[in-house]
Symmetry: C2
Subunit: 407 residues, 2 copies
Amino acid sequence: MTDISRRRLLTTAGTAGAAGLALGTAGGAVAHAAVAAPGAPALTTLGATAHPFHGAHQPGITTPAQTHGHLVALDLAPGAGRREAADLLRRWSTLAARLMAGEAPPDDTDVARDAGPAALTVTIGLGHGFFDATDLAAARPAALAPLPVFSNDALDPARSDGDLWLQVGADDALVAFHALRALQRAAAGTAAVRWQMTGFNRSPGATARPMTSRNLMGQVDGTNNPKPTDEDFDQRVFVPEGGDPGWMAGGSYVVVRRIRMLLDDWERVSEAEQERVIGRRKSDGAPLTGGDETTPVDLEATDADGGPVIAANAHVRVSAPETNGGAAMLRRPFSFHDGFLDDGSPDAGLLFVCWQADPLRGFVPVQRKLDRGDALSAFVKHEASALFAVPGGAAEGEYVGQRLLEG
Amino acid sequence: MTDISRRRLLTTAGTAGAAGLALGTAGGAVAHAAVAAPGAPALTTLGATAHPFHGAHQPGITTPAQTHGHLVALDLAPGAGRREAADLLRRWSTLAARLMAGEAPPDDTDVARDAGPAALTVTIGLGHGFFDATDLAAARPAALAPLPVFSNDALDPARSDGDLWLQVGADDALVAFHALRALQRAAAGTAAVRWQMTGFNRSPGATARPMTSRNLMGQVDGTNNPKPTDEDFDQRVFVPEGGDPGWMAGGSYVVVRRIRMLLDDWERVSEAEQERVIGRRKSDGAPLTGGDETTPVDLEATDADGGPVIAANAHVRVSAPETNGGAAMLRRPFSFHDGFLDDGSPDAGLLFVCWQADPLRGFVPVQRKLDRGDALSAFVKHEASALFAVPGGAAEGEYVGQRLLEG
């Protein structure tokens, strides 16, 4: 009964199709359309949206960012080796596929009962230490080498790194908690939580701005992100078939950083100065060189006095692919707010999550430049950092990481 | 421009009315319908829903529970007295009215720019200490006397009590954070954050269940809540005109408790045993004596052996108004999840928020009975507690608490 009631999913009223019909959408999401039991109210598309777990890439990378996100690192338990790790990845894959389809797992806690999948995605990553614990050090990607130390970093080791990583996103907080808890339970005895962070994005429909969200500094953030329609998108974000190591084909590398915003300092600065720091207008995200949000920044433009319109240390200049040998990464962050610090300032900022085929040609060169010369550095603090290899998506009947663990 | 763009609000596509027309709805909410600028996408009702700040009662009491909630206690700064407190309540009232209408305050952080009010509510309460700091001890309601000590309490003083209280709720996380931060900034120099808690509820549309949410134990929770349509609803929840003290007319008392759920213990118990603890079916919230969620519990029913169907210590029996001299309160909680504790268990549970005209005829008698004989007590831990007087709503041009501070 549970599976049936959890799957009593309708698209928005008036668009219900025939029982069991799956409707593909542009974003790859599937809204299950099934005929509801008589009298049962319909879910909206928010509840009914289901993303596929199986595919060439794992979900949660190009999936539209959800309202709620959990980032969790786990460490393998002492004694857990390759077999236990493979069993865990198999259990997680089975569970994730089930949860993402809106089905209840066995022995369920019922927290998401009656709910649709609500755009749930589960993404699984492997950290540097995973390969030692599993005697797979020879298969460890060179790209998992520890990130360089940046001068502005103030990293908390307890909230950094980890053997395994889960990213859970959903447009409903109970659906997200339910999945996180189910995944934690499935790891019992094999891996334990090392750190966990919770974040959020705008609710669909809360704003008229269709694409780009604001961050907690009030800035439009993410305008220059690579788009899946870009010719070189796959090349930038995903490891190609035949890449090195072979088991990472279709995979990606994720850098996760807890970036606290020094909001007391930031909000003391005038809007004009904030715009100079970023290089974009605060109102609409347009470059200070004119146009609208999507207009390319003109880094060469000069003002009446012959000085650059975009300051030498403006964030958009220092982070621009043009000034970093084309380095670019797909940023898919969540905002966070964990209360207030003792001095009264909000413990809030950005859970920075960025995706690339190679961190040495994505995050690292950009962050090196930002670390040296970004005007924004004075207003943020990098407090935690982690890097994970995120294997390609699992085909039906396979589990994430199978090519590594059984290769 | 900011105000105009923030107010470019449309109800769902197809129902747009004439410019500036305010559409009343059953719940008292108003969806601003204005003609959007050409090409601007429409907000959905999620973004466009606005609740009125002014009225007989403060918002956030009978308002449908929002997806995101912040509960914050503040203490008055040393030296802040009656005048400073009155100024603060005036600033907060002006700000809350503005934010709830979807308008940007002066010197805005822009975090909610482009967004609609998203059902934002701001509720203001006064704690026991407020009346000492403001030389108003003679006007302190008897109902604000400290709550009795309950044997199962494990209260953290640093997360309990407080001179002032704010409840911020919204259906968008950035709108909620924006309002919280604006209110904190408006208090600078007069009051500082003592504690803050963040919670969540289901997203609208995530579930087909229309009325009652589930908590993180997976239980349908809140079925027996008083309904605004009940004949004695106002009498239970709000202080009447001519009550004592007179300045609390239209007001209410709120008890706030951080109730951590011992989920590791709870989830080890079978579903049948969980249902015995509560007295309701887990699947749909129906009483174990039959019917559906809304069917009254039959406390007299016996099974084949002559024993009670609803156990003597079942939560529904011990908390039932019939067994508490009619005591009832309006519960309007949020779930919380603040990561994991050192033992790996989730630091998660319920931000219990309950409303009543008199705590001595609402929360206190019910909690006394629960404390002694509730089977659920073994699975929860009360970690923080606070009680606030929430004055009646402010009329246009007035501020919350004006009758007290200028009486």
